[in-house]
Symmetry: C2
């Protein structure tokens, strides 16, 4: 179950192990939007992304008996680093299944956090099979990147902090990948402030959540085509259930708007954010949500990306 | 005169018109340096640089009679924007002399802040002549970018905030261009904490302050050759006098170290900083200062740069 209470408990559990990230505002972005914008900067979170919250909560919640055998996950991104770090904090083994095609830098980063890497073929089936093999061999517990109420509760803690600092928000815009972050966000926000509006934002090139939300049933997975690589995940049963109950709307944004929003955030807020982190602001840039005169929270999800290939230096996107 | 008292008065004067910028730390940068590093992030300051502090103090200090005729400066960088903004806050005219070669974006930025632009030939002589002409015609007061105790006092306010937050620093590293920032930094820090060490950092390709400091006399200006365009200024009488009295040492850093430091700051602290802002950390990267086991403050001066031409995408520097 995911409730305001479980999110508050998660916050008490992980608070000393994560960063209380800053909330940034900017006069010029406010003037452009005719609104008051509050950016909750999870790019400053441990491991550079909000994923530290959910993974830490899930790992800290294990019983000592479960924990002894360690944790396993399959991910090549921020969740892998988050699980590795949380396991290290608890002093237990972490096994991370990664496709052998993963960039060396990401692999080394997770290894530096003390995880044991299991390489596999770059397919979902191979990843799941490898994770099952690890579980069979070690008794490790799977920490899913999003379809897990403990993980969702951890992700929701960012919104507790945001609303503590800015209690009068009218609306929160939140990216959707697999839906773990927006699930925690929506339940935390509606629990604290029933009248608040929660809108999910998805790249048009990976719009499974949009289509699932509008149709009322999880749509089949289609190949994602977006620069926002953190948002290529698709909803699963638990996140879809929470989103249907608690999210007011889902909108999509174009690749051009994502890149433009990302660049505006870099230039104006002076922070490094990854493409996935810019989609909330992209919804404002592209006027997909009417924010006029409103007080709007935006979850900025992370700041991990390759500085050698920035989207505005490649002609293909713009 | 520049004293702890004038810096404190400056802070009271400008506090409501500037940003109290955050101080960031990072475990991984600390581990690399074997030290505790505290980055005072003036990249988050109004107009994106510490220059907002000094210009605001100088403009607010004018008598009503002086203020009526406005202020003038010659600069194509952050100081121009800072003077324009301060004049706008006070409701007085600002005249900014800029070379006609200045990029349109910078010109438009200053114009958007309400300043009147006077274009001139791109030489120091032409800039000074144009400023003198404005003064003769309008009675405006010159706000020099650094050789002015009111400006230096304003720049020193960043260090009041830094030491309020981190009172136990052993050392502060500060970039040197014309010397306004380090003058305020050193007087504020030594006033609060006589035992603290202040070390200035300069690009080796614009090392006039290093040579002046070591020789005891202002060295003649030579053409600067560095990516750190904010540090191409040279010391003048007032800044040189304060630096001789209050700064413990000056070191130089290579272009490679500046770019490497800038990239580390972007990748690890997740903030956008300009090359000039990275030289303090470059001194640690290049081991020009022994920081082992020490608590070190670093002034990160600004975050304004062209995202289309980042140094690590050009082969010439690395």
């Amino acid at each position: 179950m995911l409730t305001l209470a479980t999110i508050r408990e998660a916050h008490a559990r992980i608070r000393d192990s994560i960063v209380r990230t800053p909330v940034l505002s900017n006069d010029s972005l406010d003037a452009d939007a005719h609104a008051s914008l509050f950016f909750k900067c999870e790019s400053f979170q441990k491991i550079g992304a909000f994923k530290a919250r959910g993974a830490t909560n899930a790992v800290f919640l294990l019983s000592d008996e479960e924990a002894r055998n360690g944790v396993v996950t399959h991910s090549s991104g921020n969740h892998a680093a988050a699980v590795a770090r949380a396991a290290k904090l608890r002093g237990i083994p972490a096994y991370v299944v990664m496709p052998h095609t993963v960039p060396q830098a990401k692999l080394q980063n997770v290894r530096n956090l003390g995880a044991r890497i299991e390489l596999c073929e770059p397919t979902l089936a191979a990843r799941e099979a490898a994770a099952q093999r690890v579980i069979a061999e070690t008794g490790a517990t799977l920490v899913h990147p999003f379809n897990d109420y403990r993980v969702m509760a951890g992700q929701g803690t960012a919104t507790l902090e945001l609303l503590e600092e800015q209690p009068d928000l009218d609306l929160i815009l939140c990216p959707i990948g697999g839906g773990g972050l927006i699930s925690g966000t929506a339940v935390a926000a509606k629990g604290l402030k029933p009248g608040i509006q929660i809108i999910g934002v998805e790249p048009a090139g990976a719009d499974d959540a949009y289509r699932s939300f509008k149709s009322g049933a999880i749509v089949p997975v289609t190949p994602a085509n977006t620069i926002a690589d953190g948002l290529r995940g698709t909803l699963l049963d638990k996140t879809f259930g929470v989103i249907r109950e608690n999210v007011d709307d889902v909108v999509t944004v174009s690749e051009t708007a994502i890149v433009q929003a990302m660049r505006s955030i870099w230039e104006t807020l002076k922070i490094v954010v990854e493409p996935s982190a810019a989609v909330s602001y992209a919804a404002i840039v592209e006027k997909k949500v009417d924010v006029t005169g409103r007080r709007v929270g935006l979850i900025v999800t992370g700041g991990n990306l390759d500085l050698d290939s920035l989207p505005w230096t490649s002609a293909e996107v713009l």
